[in-house]
Symmetry: C2
Subunit: 408 residues, 2 copies
DNA sequence: GTAATTTGTCAAAGGTCTAAACAAAAAATT
DNA sequence: AATTTTTTGTTTAGACCTTTGACAAATTAC
């Protein structure tokens, strides 16, 4: 039961029904390809005539491609298989991180094209945009216009104002009120630019992923554990943005209001317990005990090395990780109690040690979750190789073609 | 951008466009009545012909009523005013609480009919349903069938399984796996029964309220502070239910994982800091100091009396309330960081002291919220006289007629 | 009394789903 | 080898809606 917003509704026109069914057909082709018209009509529980009409339109538009052959049927006329047609426009996905920026190309259906490349992130916004434009131009083979590229999706760690296209505040990049969209539009000409927060983008990457068993999950939460903790929430197949586009910040829900100080200024945020920095400082705190911090050594030491030490049976490293696992689970319990998603995705460097962490995480979840059923929530770890942020950035460009039309 | 669920979609038919526009028209009549066809066509940004056709259908169905006169226009033909027509079916709203059950009738448009009545809650489910049926029959004037009543909405404090119509667990009522829907259907014959959790119902009451300025808010959170803490979340005009229909439990997100014990078994839940019991025990804890608790005195002493004492300048009562206010604000900050709603509603006995609490609440919110803008979130207090739970229960019956059709 | 203005209705046109018949292609049966 | 059966894809006519433009009705201004 959804309420219609009397200040923001969308009337149905003659073409609305077609528009709806078109998107459903596209969605089903995407998830079931190769698929015939007849099979589609069964999936959609409608007649073949409607499907034929719809598909012919999609063929004309170049969104769908026919191929003569599929596996032959038991009897009867052979079906003609339908596929999504990746048109010649590429999507450019950009993931801006503290020290390096990553870049990936995909075709119009979201499939990766070529290798992921990366380059150092310039922290001056103007410099950054210039270097980005240079890299994108190179990746596209010299051209930098809408003929070579269907759009650029840029994922930024921080708070975005999508209406004005500005980065309101990114502690990671030390940006404040950077008019990123304006800067980019000047460099990228007629190419469409989409911005998104990195936590939200990660959630998008899973919702719009074709591979795997994720297509049935429409209520998910993606938790990204890295220098900070980013969270994206999807409810009813749609990102929870909130009034200021800042929804999702589970990272700053406290585990203990008088816990350790967090980068955000408050105390005891979840992030202050489970970020890589928190895990590392826990390791050093217990390791070097009362000795004053050793900035150089610590700066060089990464979470990956800590995990390696833990695997080599370094007791201190193990307990540091186990503490993180416990706090991770306690926070996940809150997410489960509040959102009750059908699946939780976890990303970040720490996932490489998931085999070590999982039992502790599960125990901690059960400690605070409101019913035993909720304790068995589906959790899936997303390894770094899958580049969730980049895939989310790509989805900003490729997914709208498959999204439900706004209606009512 | 909403993703279509490939396992659960709804195809558009010939009638879909009409259905959509019909619901939009109803919504607009509801929020703008009295309103003429011509004005509607302007609101909907369509032509008068479509509106005429649509309205005539609604007139035939008896959903809308014409009235000759409205305030005359400056020039031109006088418009005929349209109103929602409350048909002769009544909705019965039931709010089950620990000691008493409340009951209210509304007409089909959601307007209250008659007085709110109440009776003691029988804690045996079968007894309860029987006494409820007796009371509803009396309220309906002796009849207990679909001719006299369009449906019964029952609001229960606890976890519900809407699919099977059972109360999975209600600590307040001490119910576990009570097959409430089955029990009720036996007593209520052909009358439709709708169940809902009380926290979620409160949120519904505000979304579907016609009065006030709430109609534009489609992302809201309702926090109900009472013996426990119930929370309902609405995103994009739709309740967040989650996979097990348990979403919303902000009451059991911790303020401190090793804080005071909570009824749920965990420690340091928000509820353990701000429920009426928590406030009262804080008062007694500091008031009678090390003396052992005085069960009788405490049992008799209510939060209302504590508020009265505070207003009479009882320092201990004031500090107990101020602590609650601070913890309330700290928890609200989490809600704001996670959901970023366009408005937060707060209900419960404590709201009667809102003038005392608000400054402290606001300060606490600002302490933990991620941006100054978020600190100025819109908060509205819902007094007990407005019976939010009952209005939510009524909405279960009356609102579906105005809801957006499920599409795509 | 006439013109201007606003409201509400009607009929024709255009777009979409829907149902049934039809043509095409391939395997099974006679 | 011819016929039947089955499955796929298309065509055609009908039903339902929105959209457009014209038109009658009602009211005020001049």
């Amino acid at each position: 039961m959804r309420k219609i917003n009397p200040n923001n509704f969308k009337l149905a026109t003659r073409g609305t029904s077609r528009e709806i069914n078109r998107q459903i057909a596209l969605t089903l082709i995407r998830t079931h390809q190769p698929v015939s018209r007849a099979e589609l009509s069964r999936l959609m529980e409608t007649n073949r005539a409607s499907v034929t009409l719809l598909i012919n339109e999609l063929l004309d538009e170049g969104l769908v491609r026919e191929e003569a052959q599929s596996e032959p049927n038991k009897r009867g006329r052979k079906p003609t298989s339908l596929f999504l047609n990746s048109r010649n426009s590429l999507a450019v996905a950009v993931d801006v991180r503290k020290t390096r920026t990553f870049l990936m190309l995909t075709d119009s259906t979201g499939n990766q094209v070529g290798e992921v490349i990366s380059f150092p992130t310039k922290l001056d916004p103007a410099d950054f945009v210039q270097s980005l434009a240079w890299q994108v131009r190179k990746a596209l083979g010299g051209k930098l216009d809408a003929s070579a590229c269907g759009g650029v999706g840029v994922v930024v760690p921080g708070m975005l104002d999508l209406k004005n296209g500005t980065v309101v505040h990114s502690p990671t990049l030390k940006w404040r009120n950077v008019e990123l969209l304006d800067l980019m539009e000047k460099e990228f000409g007629d190419i469409e630019i989409h911005l998104e927060n990195s936590g939200k983008a990660c959630a998008l990457s899973q919702i719009w992923s074709v591979r795997g068993d994720g297509s049935g999950h429409n209520d998910i939460v993606f938790v990204s554990v890295s220098d900070g903790v980013g969270v994206g929430i999807v409810v009813n197949g749609e990102l929870v943005r909130g009034r200021h586009n800042t929804a999702g910040e589970f990272g700053h829900v406290p585990l203990s209001i008088d816990g350790p100080p967090c980068a955000c200024g408050a105390n005891g945020c979840w992030e202050a317990y489970i970020s890589n920095l928190a895990t590392l400082s826990r390791y050093f705190g217990t390791n070097v005990a009362s000795r004053k911090p050793q900035p150089i050594e610590q700066a060089e030491f990464t979470i990956e090395e800590l995990i390696a030490k833990a695997r080599a049976n370094d007791g201190k490293a193990l307990t540091a990780l186990q503490s993180t696992a416990r706090y991770l689970g306690l926070g996940l319990a809150s997410i489960i109690n509040v959102i009750d998603p059908s699946r939780i995705y976890i990303g970040g460097e720490i996932t490489e040690a998931w085999d070590l962490l999982e039992p502790t995480v599960r125990d901690a979840i059960k400690e605070r979750v409101l019913s035993t059923e909720l304790g068995e929530a589906s959790i899936r770890v997303v390894p770094a190789i899958e580049f969730p942020r980049l895939r989310g950035a790509a989805a900003l460009i490729t997914a709208p073609a498959f999204a439900a039309p706004k209606v009512a």
